[in-house]
Symmetry: C2
Subunit: 654 residues, 2 copies
């Protein structure tokens, strides 16, 4: 059954197919693979120039409030942003800093006084800015940033100050060269009281580029990748800004210094402010996805033409993608890339519906619930997608051997540029911990709502589960076929529930009188992360399954379901120790998972080229010498001489 | 029990402690962390200049025949070479190309006519050369290279020719800029008969640097890393060299074109020639080791000073290396780095004893057996050590967050430079396959030697094993403690034997009449690689255990044995699915392995700094802003305000 790559592409393109088509048409002809020999300064210059071209395309405007000339299409802008990952990741990140982080913060944390003054210049790329959150001493722990913004009612100004070296703003994009203004996150102090972290607009450079008085700007210099982005450091020595520079959507300070906020709890206020910035994380996951797709397209297309070693029977050299181990390196990774693509699509779609401008939105508890779910999913998928990108791009590089190490073949840049994705916009480990915490809270709430009889039943279930585990009963009861979608889902759901229940039991010990809370938490930390990972795996599984079900064409649906199966089985195979240890799989069925992965690799091998073509990567952005073999397919090399390898004397066995 | 890092360093330094001390004294004061902003040309120039400084140090001479002014210390030179991995990997690789590959080939494949003429100039760095083996179309499959060397008896010359684009020599170090001569591997043809791959000396550039007539030289350009090395491409258009340029230690062509060789089988001859080059693989494994050590030293020293998030009880910020998950990222990797260090030490030592000049050496079958074992071990350890380097350096980068992404903190260069180690000097997948093939041959021979009764017993054992597996008898019979060294070894040995026996059974099917040999092999390919990996794991385990036993000081031995245990348990934990599936571990004991890894992480945490100090990395080569926290330890940050995180309502559970 042959599947047309264009049909499959329509499925992958999904809700924002029109935006994707526009981006391909608009940018696909640009040369966005910069010369890898550019100096840092040259690359920064080029990236800034490309940023201005992007602004001229008015694509970034898509994400802003229509009242200010924006397009009001949050999902569209995030989709367009991710597509830059097929081209130049420095440009993607620079655009993300300018419009996603800096512009996004002004949009959602600010009010009309900021919007009126700055939004249009930000959209047009006339006012370039920074998102100055991270400090040298505090990256993940944003709540404990040390920069201060102290209100002076006499002058009606805030004084921004860096109290020590650790409070220096660090790794800030747009800071080293281009930024004129920064959204600075600082502890807001008024009347001697600290109200926690808030954001303020602080001019950092004059028009001519010289630093503003009291502002010290450093340069982070060369990085592993993303060298088109000018990351820098900012320190403030009692720098004064007007009271109005506080981005006051969630809290304000009156002229006399009185603090007010519609959100009473300082903790809830902090998390609400941060929550509005979820778009950054979702965008990073999207960029990781497109970069991974590009790497796989390169490695699979190369693997489908490269030949090495002769088939002993025919003497003909074998195409490397016909080797099982080569398939195992690339095809499960490809299947997972598909799975994450659909999970990401759902995430973007839900964010769009939640954040759209001017439309009727869910409000109150419902909206909070939805926002909370979105943030948790964004954290989880960002972590899983970026780790997947790092591992897959690495594998792709290795699958292309020496050719994959040459800059001309694009893989080195992809690897170097995406490397930081696992630790920026939230360190992955910290993000998964966040997911675990939310899951635990939800779990506790679920149990809390049970009446006494329900709790007793629940406790009995736990005991029964544990007995089933000991006796291998679970596996006996569930004689499913690992290739069945429903059985796969059962496994993933059971794992998630099992890990969560066990984690909850462990964490309860932290509440015993005299317990060392940190020790209890720390002892269970690896367990918590595994539970979070299991949760994300299940969500991704469901997203892929739903995507398959939406497909009309039986041929496309059939192929896609095989890809889905390969993804699911490779997840199960990777953690089969868990399933066997806890009685969810018999050893025999665990081995069957491995065999099924191998079999599906063989089944999907003939479709590998189609599966990567369907990503719709503009050919101009992927063209490189690695793909010469496609254009100039040599006749299969046949070697008339027999293989010189000494045959292994297998006849002697047994 | 406190252990002095210097005592531990003596253990790690091992047999070539004096060479290590010399290298530290001689090079430790040089600044060998080049500015990451260097252009390709600047970096190449610097590397060539450093290469000349190395030659002046006369350290490279160590590896050559004393009859020509060499030091005759093969083990010493490989040890010294690896130590460059603490500094600049471009220099390490450039030195490896010049003295290991080019000089090594002239030494071992050539005879006195080549030695007299070139060895001194090679040692002194006056004659820079290339090792031109790999072609664009054939990397791993060296036997099927297509460059030809056709003998012309009339002129008494060889004609070197590149018949097609795929036969171009590619990725050749020293080719793009510096090399004057190349050892070219080509199919030797005389009297119309091909005798397989042989090596010849071919001048590629005149003194003034212009290419020799008929030689086309290309430049591989920018690479992911190692940009101080000038990799290039060589094509030959009927280039003529004198008959004497054949490196004729293993085969010669007489004036009249008669071919002769002391080794009759062309296959054995080929593998004998290649076998002499085992030093390259061992050196790469060594370089991977030192680079890994440096990355771990950076990440662990940073992790031991960096603080993030407050302990809820004390309000004091927690040192990140105190988090279990941070320990899990770094400490098992550190333990495996120790394990590989000792396995590498054994390898270097055995190679030294086998290859030493002028000493009485084992000969005949024994020598062949030893050489074969050395090659197999070198292949296996090179694969495992370089994959370990890639994964560990990646983890270290991530463990340092944004700081780890900055070039000034050295980790990006380490990652980029070592990345190609997994695919050069033998692609790791191909190398493990080689190991598997040798293991299968040995296995077949072992079984072949059994008499009829022995074979019957063997078959019965296999059946019994299979029954034990089904009934879980193995696990019941072996009620060991996973923390016991003898139990750990039993597990690793059983796994190796089990996988090998099963692989042999599968491969036997290839011999059935009408079997598709490629299909049978390919279907078992993943199994073969796992078997090879299990073999290497067992060898590495044994090397570490033997190293622990050699230590006199009880304190050092005790600490080292805990590191050994962490390594062994992390190997067992990573493959616990296998052990449970095949009845070697009960599910309960598999979980115990995980618990034991966690416990050992805690036990070793206080020694982490000592364990990396003992590598003896010159401080000048590791000094970077990442380590500022050590020099300027801030008082632990205490946060007077209570944590703002909403507590998880755990009380509601159950």
């Amino acid at each position: 059954m042959t599947v047309d790559a264009r049909e499959l592409q329509r499925v992958l393109d999904g809700r924002w197919a029109d935006v994707r088509a526009d981006v391909r048409a608009q940018l696909g002809t640009l040369a966005l693979n910069p010369d890898p020999g550019l100096s840092t300064e040259e690359y920064r210059e080029l990236t800034t120039a490309n940023l201005r071209l992007l602004a001229e395309s008015r694509r970034p405007h898509l994400g802003f409030d229509p009242a200010y000339g924006g397009g009001g299409d949050v999902g569209g802008v995030v989709t367009a942003f991710a597509a830059l990952g097929y081209g130049d990741l420095s440009l993607l990140v620079k655009a993300g800093v300018q419009w996603g982080l800096f512009g996004g913060a002004v949009q959602v944390l600010g009010t009309s006084r900021h919007h009126d003054k700055h939004l249009r210049a930000i959209m047009d790329g006339e006012l370039l800015g920074c998102f100055a959150m991270t400090e040298t001493g505090h990256g993940s722990d944003v709540q404990h940033l040390r920069t201060t913004a102290t209100y002076d009612p006499a002058a009606q100004e805030f004084e921004i100050h860096t109290p020590d070296a650790g409070a220096r703003k660090d790794y800030i994009g747009n800071a080293a060269r281009d930024g004129r203004m920064a959204v600075v996150f600082a502890q807001l102090i008024t009347g001697g009281t600290s109200h926690g972290v808030h954001a303020l607009l602080v001019p950092i450079r004059a028009e001519d580029g010289t630093p503003m008085p009291g502002v010290t700007i450093g340069d982070c210099g060369r990085k592993a990748g993303l060298n088109g982005v000018d990351n820098g450091r900012l320190s403030f020595d009692h720098v004064r800004v007007p009271r109005e520079n506080l981005l006051n959507h969630f809290a304000d300070v009156a002229e006399d210094g009185t603090y007010s906020s519609p959100i009473e709890s300082s903790s809830r206020r902090f998390f609400t402010m941060l929550g509005t910035l979820v778009r950054g994380r979702i965008s990073v996951a999207g960029g990781a996805g497109t970069a991974t797709q590009k790497a796989l397209a390169l490695a699979i297309r190369y693997g489908a033409t490269r030949r090495q070693f002769a088939d002993p029977s025919t003497g003909e050299e074998v195409v490397v993608l016909d080797y099982l181990v080569h398939q195992r390196k690339l095809l499960p990774a490809l299947a997972t890339t598909y799975a994450l693509h659909f999970a990401q699509g759902d995430l973007v779609s839900d964010m769009h519906d939640l954040q759209s401008f001017g439309e009727e939105q869910a409000s109150g508890t419902d909206a909070e619930e939805l926002q909370r779910d979105l943030e948790t999913r964004a954290a989880g998928i960002k972590a899983v997608a970026t780790w997947h990108a790092t591992a897959t791009i690495q594998t792709c590089r290795e699958a292309c051997g020496g050719a994959g190490y040459l800059a001309e073949n694009l893989l080195p840049q992809l690897k170097a540029d995406t490397d930081v994705f696992t630790t920026f916009e939230g360190d992955n480990t910290v993000l998964l911990q966040l997911v675990a915490k939310t899951l635990l809270s939800d779990y506790a709430r679920r149990i809390g709502k049970l009446d006494l009889a329900g709790k007793a039943r629940f406790a009995a279930d736990l005991v029964a589960g544990s007995v089933a585990e000991r006796t291998g009963l679970r596996a006996v009861l569930r004689r499913g076929d690992v290739r069945d979608r429903s059985y796969q889902r059962w496994l993933l759901v059971e794992r998630e529930e099992h890990l969560l229940a066990a984690a909850a039991r462990r964490m309860r010990r932290a509440l015993s009188p005299g317990a060392d809370q940190f020790a209890v938490f720390n002892g269970a930390q690896d367990h918590l992360l595994v539970a979070a990972r299991a949760h994300v795996d299940r969500i991704v599984f469901d997203a892929f399954a739903a995507a398959v079900d939406r497909v009309d064409s039986p041929a496309v649906r059939g192929l896609l379901d095989q890809v889905r199966g390969l993804h699911a089985l490779s997840v199960i195979e990777a953690d089969r120790a868990f399933f066997v240890e806890h009685g969810y799989l018999t050893p025999g069925r665990a081995k069957a998972a491995t065999q099924a992965v191998n079999a599906l690799c063989g089944t999907l091998r003939p479709h590998a080229r189609t599966l990567v073509t369907a990503f719709g990567i503009p050919e101009a952005w992927i063209d490189c010498p690695l793909l010469d073999g496609e254009r100039n397919p040599e006749a299969p090399a046949t070697d008339p001489t027999p293989s010189h390898e000494e045959p292994t004397d297998l006849a002697a066995v047994g």
